[in-house]
């Protein structure tokens, strides 16, 4: 019973993640099963999923610690961040 509802929740989260992006950088989000949160790799912020409802208000986001962020660090993200940095500063 519990498992079924969990699957339903995960399915819902999956459908949502097809259309959801990070509210700040508009880059794709990654679903983290461990902490059941959505992670924006581009800016290193995680957004919680409460009771199957993802909370994507910037204020709800938590800035990830360095170790977490470094796991998923790669060049594409880096270039995206740099681009945004430039855009922001212009």
């Amino acid at each position: 019973m519990v498992r079924v509802s969990k699957e339903v929740l995960q399915n819902a989260a999956k459908t949502l993640s097809d259309i959801l992006v990070c509210p700040l950088s508009k880059q794709p989000l990654r679903y983290c099963e461990e902490s059941s949160s959505l992670i924006s790799d581009a800016i290193g912020v995680s957004f919680p999923i409460k009771n199957g409802i993802p909370c994507l208000v910037p204020r709800d986001g938590k800035i990830l610690e360095e170790e977490d962020a470094s796991k998923s660090d790669n060049d594409t993200n880096l270039s995206a961040v740099n681009e945004e940095n430039q855009e922001r500063s212009v």
């Binding site: 819902a12 259309i19 509210p23 508009k26 208000v57 360095e66």
Partner: protein
């Protein structure tokens, strides 16, 4: 290299979160966080069939009937969520919505909506819920066919920005439908508040939020500025009758439409409040003892650009002179 990049990443995250928290546009008119709290409260207070919200959302959804197009994926932005989701997901509803995304900045509001959805019998429409801010729309570009916002966007600090983000979220030829409260809303309360404050406190501070002082033209400009094609705007005024000014305030609170100015004076003296009620009653009360309150609703429609839509030809691109046309038709008649 890696360390530097991480540092920059963190710095940007801090900066963007701070930006998001304190000021996004240059001017902060409304306290968005306070509005969230008010809407949390409203989630518990709103009756399931509020006549005003019901009428406005019904009017908004009726517009879908005029489009000979279906909208399989729809996104419902904050505002009066429950009436709009109910009318979009009712059997044989207009618009042919198959997948609905319900979004609001208040978690309690979304949760209440979710509970209502699970309690209802007809669940033909696949509905998903999320908490997000209209000013930071977390929706992928060109992913929805319809964006509906019922009485929510007038609380955004950056209305054009929010509308631009909605346009980007729409697929080409997607429809944006919004209802916002206009500047004539609660004019009676505004007058009564000002008079009471002048009388009791010798000065005035804004008690009633400055809503979009928009006439039809301004709303049209907003739509054009946000890049929507075929803009359409119309204005409707609803007059709601209350027994006294206190009932009016209760109703506003239940709708989550209480003042949320970031610079408001947070102290309201009992004296002034009672004086406001008295002035409201003496100036505006009807013969039957009720007091009227005006709600001006501006309905906006806009489409995302698509090659199939009609548009004006480029200037100077005509190949036939009007004189020739006149001659042609003049000779026929």
């Amino acid at each position: 290299m890696r360390r530097v990049s991480l540092w920059r990443k963190q710095a940007w995250a801090f900066r963007s979160l701070r930006l998001a928290t304190f000021s996004t546009s240059k001017v902060t008119i409304f306290d968005r966080q306070l509005k969230r709290t008010q809407r949390d409260r409203a989630a518990w207070l709103t009756p399931s069939h509020d006549p005003l919200l019901h009428t406005v959302s019904q009017n908004l959804v009726d517009r879908l009937q005029d489009c000979n197009k279906t909208f399989p994926t729809a996104l419902c932005l904050g505002g009066s969520l429950q009436p709009i989701t109910r009318s979009l997901s009712a059997p044989h509803a207009n618009g042919g919505v198959e997948k609905l995304f319900v979004m609001d900045a208040s978690y309690d509001m979304v949760q209440a909506c979710k509970n209502a959805y699970h309690a209802s019998n007809h669940r033909a429409v696949e509905t998903h819920f999320l908490v997000a801010d209209e000013e930071f729309l977390p929706i992928k570009e060109s992913s929805v066919d319809l964006v509906v916002s019922c009485l929510g966007l007038h609380w955004t600090n950056d209305l054009p920005g929010a509308m631009i983000q909605s346009r980007l979220a729409l697929k080409p030829d997607g429809l944006f439908l919004a209802a916002i409260l206009g500047g004539e809303t609660l004019k009676e309360l505004r007058i009564a508040c000002t008079l009471a404050q002048m009388e009791r406190e010798g000065g005035i501070s804004p008690r009633v939020s400055p809503l979009a002082q928009a006439c039809v033209r301004d709303a049209g400009n907003l739509l054009t500025r946000a890049g929507f094609t075929l803009p359409g705007v119309d204005v409707d005024e609803y007059i709601v009758k209350y027994e006294s000014a206190l009932e009016l305030i209760e109703h506003l609170r239940a709708m989550g439409e209480i003042n949320a100015l970031s610079q408001m004076n947070s102290i309201l003296k009992r004296d002034t409040a009672l004086a406001t009620a008295a002035i409201y009653d003496s100036m505006f009360s009807a013969e039957d003892g009720t007091i009227p309150a005006t709600f001006q609703v501006i309905y906006m429609t806009g489409w995302r650009e698509h090659s199939s839509q009609q548009k004006a030809k480029r200037r100077g691109s005509a190949t036939v002179s009007f004189n020739d046309i006149q001659k042609q038709f003049g000779s026929q008649s």
